[in-house]
């Protein structure tokens, strides 16, 4: 009697274990590190939703090589040391042959170091600091342009339309902010614009007026800011308050390009231009469909981070379908040969200008016109003609 009971239990476990195996055989599971809590959680959430939309679409069309995709998310809280630990777990414990994900540059950098050391390919999705792909890493690929290239569109807009003589640069004291500011300094030098002021600030500050009154006293033609969303809104509100009349207010992507910027800065956001990588109206295949699907589900359009995450899963799908086997080495070889057009834009990993495995692409310029982000540059993608010169604060309304 007792023996039968034991056999029964054993049989039960056997069934359970086999079921587990068979399940594992036709699914492929990826763990994605993202900041789901903490101050960067907003972006983590956008990316998580976008990955999930891509997952559903891919699964509806038969998965990757017939395997159903399952995504799991690990919360890095936006802290590099936690991202690092997650990456180690993904490689050492979960034995996943390729890693992708994470939001900020500092976290992406932490994972890149682990991936390179363990020889597992890592696809950087949103981390934009230049040096991530400048360290002669063989296993680190980046699909988003690096922060110095975020502004290539804006650079040509400045050159051909605004033609400023002086510029003031404000940036947050993070990896992203510092690199963005350095990029603009280089651009300014190329275009013959004098940098009259270059100042960093602590993200989350309450009062920007002291630094802004200093900016005002220098009377720059252009004020260029590299900020996340709430700093961006606060900066513009306080610029309006101090009536600083520059010829152009320009943002370096991040906080200026997402719809929340307009919601928060309200009328102070009008006519602000921003470099961006993507907007919901661009003509890349699948871009509009993705944007609409996201909006119908979550009530608002995704930022470019969403498009990056959404497309990242398609890049992974493409790579895995081309790879000879699913070992890190073969995946790396296949990834190097990637050449597809995603909803985010064309993806191709190149070694040039001191970068390795970096995707280079056209970037856009948006301007807030009548309380909406409109693509204004390059003209071939424009949805509205740009407004320039912009009215002085005193004359508005």
């Amino acid at each position: 009697m007792r023996q039968r009971w034991v056999v029964g239990v054993l049989a039960f476990f056997m069934v359970f274990v086999f079921a587990g195996f068979s399940l594992a055989a036709d699914t492929v599971k990826f763990t994605i590190p993202l900041p789901l809590t903490g101050s960067k959680a907003k972006f983590g959430e956008i990316e998580k939703r976008s990955y999930e939309i891509a997952m559903e679409e891919i699964n509806a069309k038969g998965g990757i090589k017939g395997k159903k995709v399952i995504l799991e998310f690990e919360d890095s809280q936006g802290k590099p040391e936690i991202s690092r630990a997650i990456a180690e777990k993904i490689i050492d414990v979960l034995k996943q042959p390729v890693i992708f994900g994470e939001y900020s540059s500092s976290c992406s950098k932490a994972i890149a170091a682990v991936a390179e050391e363990r020889k597992v390919p890592y696809l950087v999705v949103t981390g934009a600091a230049d040096n991530i792909t400048q360290q002669n890493y063989k296993y680190v690929f980046r699909m988003n342009p690096s922060v110095s290239y975020y502004t290539s569109g804006l650079r040509s807009f400045l050159k051909e339309v605004v033609k400023p003589k002086t510029i003031a640069i404000l940036y947050e004291s993070s990896d992203f902010g510092t690199k963005g500011a350095e990029g603009m300094v280089k651009d300014a030098k190329k275009l013959g614009i004098k940098v009259v002021l270059k100042e960093k600030y602590e993200s989350g500050a309450v009062d920007f007026k002291p630094i802004l009154s200093k900016v005002k006293s220098k009377r720059p033609d252009v004020i260029y800011m590299v900020s996340y969303v709430m700093d961006a809104a606060l900066l513009m509100r306080q610029i309006k308050e101090l009536r600083i009349d520059a010829k152009l207010f320009a943002g370096g992507a991040a906080g200026f390009a997402i719809p929340e910027f307009i919601e928060n800065a309200k009328d102070a956001s009008e006519y602000v231009v921003t470099a961006t990588l993507w907007s919901p109206q661009v003509s890349y295949p699948g871009a509009k469909e993705f944007a609409e699907k996201y909006k119908s589900r979550y009530g608002k359009y995704p930022s470019y981070h969403g498009a990056e995450a959404y497309s990242a899963l398609y890049v992974i799908k493409d790579v895995l379908e081309r790879a000879k086997s699913w070992t890190p080495e073969d995946i790396r070889v296949a990834m190097k040969k990637t050449n597809i057009v995603t909803a985010f834009g064309p993806i191709k990993f190149e070694d040039r200008e001191g970068y390795q495995n970096q995707n280079f692409m056209d970037t856009l310029v948006l301007q807030v016109i009548n309380g909406k982000h409109e693509t204004i540059w390059p003209v071939k993608y424009a949805t509205k003609h740009y407004v320039y010169p912009i009215p002085r604060w005193r004359d508005r309304r």
Binding site: T37, K42, E202, D207, K209, P210, Q238, E241, E260, N264
Partner: protein, 309 residues
């Protein structure tokens, strides 16, 4: 000094003063609790966050202006603070423990729970001020046409500052003129003596924590029109309150007011003349300098003056 440099200096001082007034209000709450309880309330910023969400929803759902909602939020925060003291901190006070500061650790825990609850209930979305007058300002040149310099005074910042001053004066009146206020001060000075004099120390603790929470709650309402909110913002303000409490002299209300104003003006001057990126460094430099050279804070200076003169 030419007119441009003068304009920058004056604008900086105005900003610093307005910021300092608000800092002072945040600092006073922590200082009061510090004085009576002898612990640093490290959930202070999170209490402010809770109050900000209250004010935010009062506006969004019932269209109550944040400045009016001070009258609703501050009493609610008073009750909330008393509840924390009664049901969470008091029981820990009575337990024997290895660490004497385990109430401090408890406040850290309370802060974390509040921040995470806020993330669950309100998501981690940033929410901005819902009011329309957020970037309105008064301009000197509108009143004085030929003015050689242009200065601006933000409407919400100024209103917030004035309300902070009013609340502070009301607090001073409460502490120095009422029986309860005097008992709180007695408890802060010497718990044993206060006990012997028949002060209900337990009740004073309740009231003090409530009052501290109400003050930072009021500060939260005043911050809504000029700042934004998200669940994780508490830490930043806890830190600021901490620096002010040390700078002002642990437990001194007047010290906290002066400390807050000093910190605000100092931060603004650093931002203009050294660089805004240095603000956090400056904050800690002040913190350490105060600990080394002025361990009693501004309050000890005031006291020395009084004894000497």
């Amino acid at each position: 000094m030419d007119s441009v440099a003068l304009e920058v200096l004056l604008q900086t001082l105005i900003s610093g003063l307005l910021l300092g007034g608000l800092y002072a209000l945040i600092g006073i709450g922590m200082t009061l609790i510090m004085g009576v309880m002898k612990i640093i309330n490290l959930a202070h910023g999170e209490l402010m966050m809770v109050a900000m969400y209250m004010a935010y929803w009062l506006f969004v759902l019932f269209h109550i202006d944040p400045y009016v909602s001070v009258l609703i939020v501050a009493p609610l925060m008073f009750l909330f603070g008393m509840a924390i003291q009664k049901f969470l901190i008091n029981p820990v006070l009575k337990v024997e423990s290895i660490l004497p500061e385990n109430q401090v650790i408890l406040t850290v825990g309370i802060g974390m729970v509040l921040a995470n609850l806020a993330t669950i209930f309100f998501t981690s979305d940033y929410r901005s001020t819902p009011v329309d007058y957020a970037s309105d300002a008064w301009y000197l040149s509108d009143y004085w046409r030929g003015s050689p310099i242009e200065l601006s005074l933000s409407v919400p910042w100024t209103v917030s500052f004035v309300m902070a001053v009013i609340i502070t004066i009301a607090l001073w009146f409460f502490l120095s003129k009422t029986d309860t206020g005097k008992s709180i001060r007695a408890t802060a000075q010497d718990i044993d003596a206060a006990l012997l004099m028949g002060v209900n120390v337990e009740r004073m603790r309740l009231i003090t924590f409530g009052l501290g929470a109400a003050l930072v709650g009021a500060a939260g309402c005043l911050f809504i029109p000029i700042y934004y909110l998200y669940p994780a913002l508490g830490g930043r303000f806890t830190l600021i309150a901490f620096v002010i409490t040390i700078l002002g002299g642990l437990g001194s209300t007047v010290g906290a007011i002066i400390g807050g104003l000093l910190l605000g003006i100092f931060e603004s001057l650093t931002a203009t003349y050294i660089g805004m990126g240095w603000a956090p460094v400056g904050r800690f430099a002040i913190f350490i300098l105060a600990l080394i050279f002025l361990p009693g804070g501004v309050a000890s200076l005031l006291r020395r003056r009084r004894l000497g003169g």
